[in-house]
Amino acid sequence: MRLEMRGIQKRFGATVALGGVDLNVAGGEVLALVGENGAGKSTLMKVLAGAHQPDAGTMTLDGQPYRPRGPHDARLAGVAMIYQELALAPHLTVAENIWLGMEPARREQRPRAAAALAQLGHPEISPDIRVAALPIARQQIVEIARAVAIGCRVLVLDEPTSSLTGADIEHLFTLIRRLRADGHAIIYISHFLEEVKTIADRFTVLRDGQSVGTGNVAGTSSGEIIAMMVGRQVAELYPRSPRSPGEVVLTINGLELRRGEVIGIAGLVGSGRTELLRSVKTDWRRTGFVCEDRQLEGLALELSIADNTTLPRLPAFVRPQTLESATSRWVERMQIKCRNPRQPVGSLSGGNQQKVALARMLHADVDVLLLDEPTRGIDVGSKAEIYRLIDELAVAGKAVLLVSSYLPELLGICDRIAVMCRGKLGPARPVAELNEQIIMAEAIC
């Protein structure tokens, strides 16, 4: 075994983040680490990367005891992390970024950086270019090169595809396979079970700070993995009650939105889907908007759940208690996990944050819901609840427009889907006439 973690425990005050986790990964193997948000994946990886000291448990790296005192220690030992949010200094060059914090002799930096990039099959990335000038997918390769350049033995990728699309994801997978062939041990964290099935050899499931299962990807169905993640059977990931489309409430670029109908818009990132949604004037009396980036744009993280929920529809004079009791109803109805409506939104998990963004639209009592990637980066359990809610709202007579890059979800919950390609919106067709192949073919037109 390249890396063995045994009985890792970590508590923060009264909260037990990790209650005895075991994890093994061998060289030349991709291990998928899956679990809902808050299951302890990040904490476990921070222990591995030396950012947290475990309260109990042992770690060995190639049979040697491994106790990093800090992230720098971990890097020197050959444990490299690639976080969801890329950790590069945009104003520095590729070579400077690769050697940041390690800094070998100045004249070695360029050639060794170039060698690392070549090893990854990307000799075309110049070590002298500023990182800000590279697209996201290339920046990620620079991060991986940073890991390879210091001779990493264990590489951790945390949700690496969350900011990538189609072709770039394929490139990344090719790269991961190449690293695996070179004998690296790779830990791959993802919410997307399809990805896990494609790229990983084995998986380990975390739930509530415990490792609850591990096995070979080949012999396990997605349903079994989901059941381990949520600790129960998810009856139906994509509920779809009988709905009857009513009057047209909004027309966007010839696309008619009707009450009681869920319309999907598929297409690649950059095809103009978001711009299409933004072109609709949201006045919050009729149309509400949930945007793709919760942290950056969607929510005021320091403010309370009540403040965020009631923001579009505040009375001229505000009684905090009234807002809180109104919010409590949504908290209950949408099963937002929180202590009380005064809790800051930033302290909630991603799935619960997104439910607050949805609660805001319900509180504003809009007719049209515009949802831009509403389930991005949230766990399966919360996704299922959001799908259920979308279904309920459609049945209750709301018009829903859903933009998503995730085709199974579009096909699962929409009534009709239109494909967007290079700024042009195709006709909306019933899902019964569509499948993933047809949509992809139209999206890459």
């Binding site: 949201t282 006045d283 919050w284 908007f289 945007c291 950056l296 744009e297 969607g298 929510l299 005021a300 993280l301 320091e302 403010l303 403040d307 965020n308 923001l311 579009p312 505040l314 009375p315 001229a316 004079f317 505000v318 009684r319 905090p320 302290s347 805001r360």
Partner: protein
């Protein structure tokens, strides 16, 4: 709860400290009255600054607005205006400055730091120009007595009228921030401007109002400063903007926006007065006092961050 109590505990601590260090001299009714008087100007300015800082902005021009207001009031009194109108004129001048600042920030999309840094110089220059670079000495009026220690027959007032003015304004700002839609919008903009925009908050209009209020309260601080000086002085209150910002920050305001409280800012202003006054009572030279005050700003904010991190 601890978050709210932090600055008050700090205030209690410094008061007890100086009481212990200088028994019988520091903790007297007269000295407490004097400390309240000394806090009134910065405290009033800090009310407006609290709104500005919660909105995620900053206003470096408030010291210059204070000076400009004293000059405008003195000039209007010299023109024969009654004190009430002269005061309104001074406050009006301040709010016009705020309107200009808000317009520049929202129309030119400039950083508040830059705009108000520019106005810090420009308004100071305007004050000097209006006053012909001299003190403007107006005829005496009741305006001069807002910040006098109370005569025996006025004891029923408990504290001087200028202090009551500050406290009354504090209640108004507290109510504005907590109980009005506009006040909640200020928090939303400070916490995440994009979210506020997404939710249909009129960001530009709200910011304009925020800076008008910021300068308006600076002008009201200028009224109190005039009362204290009894003349219009274009060079007064140099550097006061930093005392005012420090008061807000010690009181829990976050320069990143979205956080701050009226009570906290007043307590922050009081902490700074108590330290200055206590140091004087201990007969420390001025430079010691400056070092202590500077240290307190850093310690207070460090403690605040530390508490917030523990709360999470």
């Amino acid at each position: 709860m601890l978050k709210k109590l932090g600055p008050i505990l700090g205030l209690v601590f410094v008061v007890l400290l100086f009481t212990a260090l200088r028994p019988g001299k520091f903790a007297t009714a007269d000295n407490f009255e004097i400390m309240l008087l000394q806090t009134a100007v910065v405290g009033t300015g800090a009310l407006g600054m609290t709104i500005v800082i919660i909105s995620g902005g900053i206003d470096l021009s408030v010291g210059s607005v204070v000076a400009l207001t004293t000059v405008v009031i003195a000039l209007l009194l010299n023109l024969g205006w009654p004190p009430v109108l002269a005061t309104l004129g001074g406050v009006g001048a301040g709010m016009i400055c705020g309107g200009l600042i808000g317009t520049l920030i929202t129309r030119l999309k400039l950083a508040p730091f830059i705009v108000t840094l520019g106005m810090w110089g420009a308004l100071r220059g305007t004050a000097k120009g209006l006053a012909s670079e001299q003190m403007v000495v107006p005829p005496g009026s009741w305006l001069n007595r807002l910040l006098n220690t109370l005569a025996p027959e006025q004891r029923w007032l408990l504290v001087p009228p200028g202090v009551w003015l500050m406290l009354g304004l504090a209640v108004a700002v507290f109510a504005f921030l907590r109980y009005t839609r506009r006040g909640r919008h200020v928090f939303a903009i400070g916490s995440n401007e994009l979210t506020a925009r997404l939710c249909g908050v009129p960001v530009e209009r709200t910011k304009l109002i925020v800076y008008m209020l910021g300068s308006g309260f600076a002008a009201l601080a200028g009224v109190l400063q005039f009362s204290y000086l009894t003349v219009g002085d274009p060079t007064t209150a140099a550097g006061m903007e930093l005392d005012i910002i420090a008061a807000v920050v010690i009181g829990g305001g976050s320069l990143a926006g979205g956080a701050g409280s009226v009570a906290g800012s007043l307590v922050g202003a009081l902490i700074m007065t108590v330290v200055a006054n206590g140091c004087t009572k201990l007969e420390f030279p001025n430079w010691v006092q400056e070092i202590v005050t500077g240290g307190i700003i850093i310690v207070a904010v460090t403690l605040d961050r530390w508490r917030q991190r523990r709360a999470e």
